[in-house]
């Protein structure tokens, strides 16, 4: 008894380092979905992405003025009581929320295979860019944009990368177009009678004739058997509106209520994009579309997509012969000043970046110099990445960590690489980077998750998973949890110590919840191991209907 009291005192002493935060939750079911599908009668104003202005704003103009606005650090919005992102027109919980088979990951958003519907009728050249591409309709009438690996670019790199990342981002929960790697023969393309050549902004400049089409196809890479490898991206349904603004909201979209720089699903993309080395992050890599509701064609709202992933997995640096990508911004003024002052005498992380190069794989995509915490997109312009905090990155890292090797392998297979070594290399590398991502962010936030109430006879327990142990980043034997119960006012009630199982699953008995106030109880879990110490506060109350205890909120300080 005396020992027990001493342990209790010790635990309360340990836990007393952090007072119970003032956050309190409603005794209500956790929101798993939000209603951002209210009718928007007319399409919101479309936004033109201005790439040079965007880079300028992100690098200089807005950077200075934002600093002078003294914005306070803010926790992300758009999260439910469990610190998770509910389903919305931006994000759908997929991996981790339900069982995703490797086949589902391999298929991703794709509902059909355009290769099964030839010939394809060429309607026009694609809009913008310098690479060859066309807008086509397949034999079943579905519209696609097709483009090719540039003739002077590494074969299969951009097309394969695009589809691999498309599948992984879809599994993560983001809306992405239906993209496919396809093989075609020139005769599979039939020219529409009114086919046109389009300029950079979509204006029609002249008729597209067969000779011009064949000339364009002659410049792209052909397989030895005469086929041409291409990326086919299904046209996104609805009226497209351009990318979402990185800051603020679309004022004319009544469903767009959370400033984008505060959205968890956008801020939390950082570790995911770092994992995938998806450096090409701008507002132009997203697109919103005003769509009709599947259940009511007269009801419309805006759906949000991420697009264009071909420069990920090290492809951007490989194509541009630029080994700085992913390590620094393209115009990284702070880094440049540092390099100037050190006169090039300091070693740079990219100096050792190299990897085997099976066909379709960038030599820059590896693990040796990958730092999940200091990874950089090409431009500092995308505000959600600037405002993201460790909690957002922890959320994203949790998603990354949920992939099994088989799921990743299936996504990579969707890239249809001709060299099997490419599939294995990319899978191995993604798994390794996944582990590095988890190791980094699970050490910066108390990595406890999946809280639940379990009942064994009369015994009611609060159970949770330690993701660091579950990911085999730390052994369970080195970890202890000090559990302290507090009442709704934050006063400590009792305390104990528990340990985790080998899988990272741990449970601690809940005290009998008080009768008043729904028995609102705050469970402080203090994780203690040699490499980390941190708290999580789990809020528990009795369901007014069933009188059964449930988790009503999680707060990570």
């Amino acid at each position: 008894m005396r020992l027990s009291c001493m342990a209790c005192a010790l635990v309360m002493g340990c836990a007393s380092g952090s007072a119970v935060p003032e956050v309190r939750f409603a005794n209500a079911p956790v929101a798993r979905v939000v209603n951002d599908r209210l009718d928007v009668a007319k399409p919101p104003e479309s936004r033109l992405f201005l790439p040079d202005t965007y880079v300028y704003d992100g690098t200089i103009g807005r950077r200075i003025t934002r600093g002078l606005e003294l914005p306070r650090p803010r926790r992300a919005l758009g999260v439910n009581a469990l610190d998770e992102v509910p389903d919305s027109t931006w994000f759908t919980n997929r991996i981790g929320a339900r069982e995703l088979t490797p086949d589902e990951v391999r298929a991703g958003p794709a509902a059909d295979d355009p290769e099964r519907h030839t010939p394809w009728t060429v309607r026009s050249t694609k809009i913008g860019g310098t690479s060859v591409g066309f807008i086509i309709k397949d034999a079943s009438g579905v519209k696609y944009m097709i483009k090719f690996d540039a003739g002077d670019a590494p074969p299969e790199l951009e097309t394969g990368t695009h589809v691999v990342v498309n599948r992984l981002l879809w599994a993560c929960g983001y809306n992405v177009p239906e993209d496919h790697v396809v093989y075609l023969r020139p005769e599979d393309l039939v020219l529409a009678a009114d086919a046109t050549v389009k300029d950079l902004t979509g204006g029609e400049t002249r008729r597209l004739d067969r000779a011009a089409l064949d000339r364009a196809l002659a410049t792209v890479r052909h397989e030895p058997d005469g086929r041409i490898r291409a990326l086919a991206s299904r046209w996104i349904d609805g009226v497209t509106l351009g990318g979402h603004p990185g800051e603020g909201v679309r004022e004319d979209d009544r469903n767009d209520r959370i400033p984008h720089e505060l959205r968890r699903d956008l801020r939390g993309q950082y570790p995911i994009y770092a994992w995938l080395d998806a450096v090409d992050v701008t507002e132009g890599q997203y697109i919103d579309s005003w769509v009709a509701d599947p259940g009511n064609p007269h009801h419309h709202y805006v759906k949000h997509y991420a697009i264009d992933f071909g420069k990920s997995l090290g492809a951007m640096g490989e194509i541009a012969f630029d080994w700085w990508r992913g390590v620094y911004y393209r115009i990284d003024l702070a880094a440049m000043v540092r390099m100037f002052v050190t006169a090039g005498l300091s070693a740079q992380p990219w100096e050792e970046r190299s990897a085997p190069r099976p066909r379709g794989v960038s030599s820059l995509f590896g693990t040796a110099m990958f730092d999940p915490g200091s990874w950089h997109a090409d431009s500092p312009g995308y505000a959600p990445f600037l405002t993201a905090d460790r909690f957002d990155k922890f959320w994203g890292a949790k998603i990354v960590a949920r992939f099994t090797r088989d799921q990743i392998h299936a996504a990579v297979e969707a890239g249809r690489f001709s060299d099997p070594r490419a599939v294995e290399y990319l899978t191995d590398t993604l798994v390794a980077r996944q582990r590095m991502t988890a190791a980094h962010w699970f050490a910066r936030v108390d990595p406890l998750d999946r809280f639940s109430i379990e009942t064994a006879g009369d015994r009611v327990e609060l159970c949770f998973d330690d993701l660091a142990i579950g990911s085999h980043l730390v052994p369970s034997s080195q970890t202890r949890y000090a559990i302290t119960h507090h009442d709704v006012a934050g006063r400590p009630l009792d305390a104990r110590i528990t340990t985790a199982g080998i899988s990272g699953h741990a449970c601690a008995e809940l005290p009998v919840l008080r009768a008043d106030g729904g028995g609102y109880t705050i469970v402080q879990i203090s994780t203690m191991r040699s490499s980390f110490a941190g708290d999580t506060f789990v809020h528990v109350a009795r369901d007014p209907q069933t009188r059964v205890a449930r988790v009503i909120g999680v707060w990570r300080p």
Binding site: V34, I60, K126, G129, T240, F321, M339, D378
Partner: protein, 501 residues
């Protein structure tokens, strides 16, 4: 100078950001966006709205009608966010004016980016002034030089006369736009490309230039001094006074380039040149040459100079980026060894003389990046005496290329020699920095070479590359004699040639 600095700052900012932001080659399609072109809304998206294949399992508005609205999903009834503190609000208020000032000050730069993005000015430029293949263009030109005002002109170029890289270029500019009628330039050139043979290129070129105020600091290695009471004879002694003179050049030339091997070239030039000089043009700033020097004592000053020139140059050039991962315009390894000799035959009865020169450059890549060390030796000379060689034909040092740290054409005499050592390292994939020290001097003759009186300059510079190659470099330099020389060059400094002969 301040105006020039502001213009240069804007220009450099614009170039850096514009040229470095146009990297990706992906298109601007709504499904596959681009970072180089605007992502336009789909013009025919209504068409796409009626796609025939239904998507199973999609969430409908009816499914979520009872769910909380965005922003109400947190479940929190008491949060931590108390909003901005009074201090933060006060500080933000205090910074309102500075923020506005910054925004206003930067608005021309942003406006330039915006205008280029919004209206695709670069495309518009090529659409207006070039053919579809951008090989033939008739385009406006303009310059601005501090103290001299603006020029305006027109240029014509045809880079593919008949498909073998032949080129024809014509250009003309005038300073009359700001009232300086003396500033004038007209030039034309034709190159055969690979028309005759892949290893042989011939060319014709001609130019007519008028400069209202070129610098003249006397002849020799003397220290700068104030003008004397009476004009001094520039042929005698090393009296250096900062003056300026009018310069007119009319020149026609035939050039040839024989590629013996990949790195070995034999270059030949034959030219006829007519030069005229005079006091600085009216309206130009500076001390006129005739107020400090007895200008008529300078060869050709009073009468002008007309001569024919033949030159042969042997050049071995293996300079290159060590790998494809380095900027294509950075020489991180290799050697340039070039020697030339030419004969000046005076057509106006003056004495003939020889011109000779040597250029050596060696680059060592000491680390990836690249980080490299470059060394250079430049030497040139003439065989005629000070009283035989027109003063503008004497070898010169100073400026942004040879003997940096000294002003343009600061030293001239019968022989000039300079050496340079430069360390260059990368600040990003697009920007390099370099530290350099140049040392050299001019000599009255080969028999009077000495290390005494050596002039030493030093400085630091930045070199900016775009995805298509060199963009601009700028350096700030000084010397053991003091002063600061700021230079901006739109051509690689170590690739620059001396003024045409």
């Amino acid at each position: 100078m301040n105006r020039l600095a502001i213009i240069v700052l804007y220009l450099v900012l614009y170039l850096v950001l514009y040229l470095t932001s146009t990297s990706t080659a992906a298109g601007a399609d709504p499904t596959v966006a681009s970072s180089i072109t605007p992502v336009a809304p789909r013009p025919d998206s209504a068409d796409a709205a009626a796609q025939p294949r239904p998507r199973p399992g999609e969430v409908t508005a009816a499914d979520v009608q009872d769910a909380p609205l965005p922003g109400n999903e947190s479940g929190q009834i008491l949060g931590l966010d108390r909003g901005d503190s009074a201090f933060r609000i006060a500080a933000r208020g205090a910074l309102f004016v500075p923020r506005l000032a910054v925004a206003v000050a930067l608005s021309p730069v942003r406006g330039a980016f915006w205008a280029n993005d919004r209206y695709r000015l670069e495309d518009l430029y090529y659409r207006w002034f070039y053919n579809d293949d951008r090989t033939i263009g008739l385009f406006p030109t303009g310059t601005y030089t501090s103290g001299f005002g603006a020029t305006a002109g027109v240029g014509f170029i045809d880079r593919a006369l008949s498909g073998d890289h032949e080129s024809l270029a014509l250009a003309a500019t005038t300073g009359a736009v700001t009232g300086d009628t003396y500033r004038l330039s007209a030039s034309g050139s034709f190159r055969t490309g690979q028309r005759i043979a892949p290893w042989l290129e011939l060319g014709l070129e001609a130019n007519f230039d008028r400069h209202p105020a070129d610098p003249f600091y006397g002849i020799g290695n003397g220290n700068l001094t104030q003008p004397a009471d009476a004009p001094v004879n520039p042929q005698i002694g090393d009296i250096a006074i900062e003056t300026r003179h009018r310069y007119q050049e009319a020149r026609a030339a035939v050039v040839g380039d024989v590629r013996v091997t990949d790195g070995l070239h034999v270059l030949g030039t034959g030219a006829v040149t007519d030069l005229q000089f005079g006091p600085i043009a009216s309206g130009a700033s500076g001390t006129s040459i005739d107020t400090a020097y007895a200008a008529p004592d300078l060869v050709g000053f009073a009468t002008g100079v007309r001569h024919a020139y033949g030159e042969l140059e042997l050049s071995w050039d293996t300079r290159r980026p060590a790998t494809a991962w380095e900027p294509r315009d950075v020489h991180s390894t290799g050697l340039l060894a070039s020697a030339l000799a030419g004969r000046v035959h005076r057509l106006d009865g003056g004495a003939d003389f020889w011109r000779y020169g040597v250029e050596l450059q060696q680059y060592w890549r000491i680390a990836t990046g690249p980080r490299l060390i470059g060394v250079r030796f430049h030497g040139s000379g003439v065989t005629g005496g000070r009283d035989e060689v027109p003063f503008t034909e004497l070898p010169m040092l100073g400026g942004s290329s040879v003997l940096r740290g000294y002003t343009f054409e600061r030293f001239r005499d019968r022989v000039a020699a300079s050496g340079s050592i430069q360390y260059q390292w990368d600040l990003s994939h697009l920007v390099d920095a370099y530290l350099f020290t140049d040392a050299g001097r001019v000599f009255p003759g080969l028999d009077q070479l000495t290390a005494r009186g050596m002039r030493v300059g030093y400085g630091v510079g930045l070199e900016i590359h775009g995805t298509r190659g060199f963009v601009v470099e700028s350096s700030i330099a000084s010397s053991i004699d003091g002063g600061v020389v700021l230079s901006v060059s739109f051509n690689p400094i170590l690739d620059s040639k001396e003024r045409r002969r």
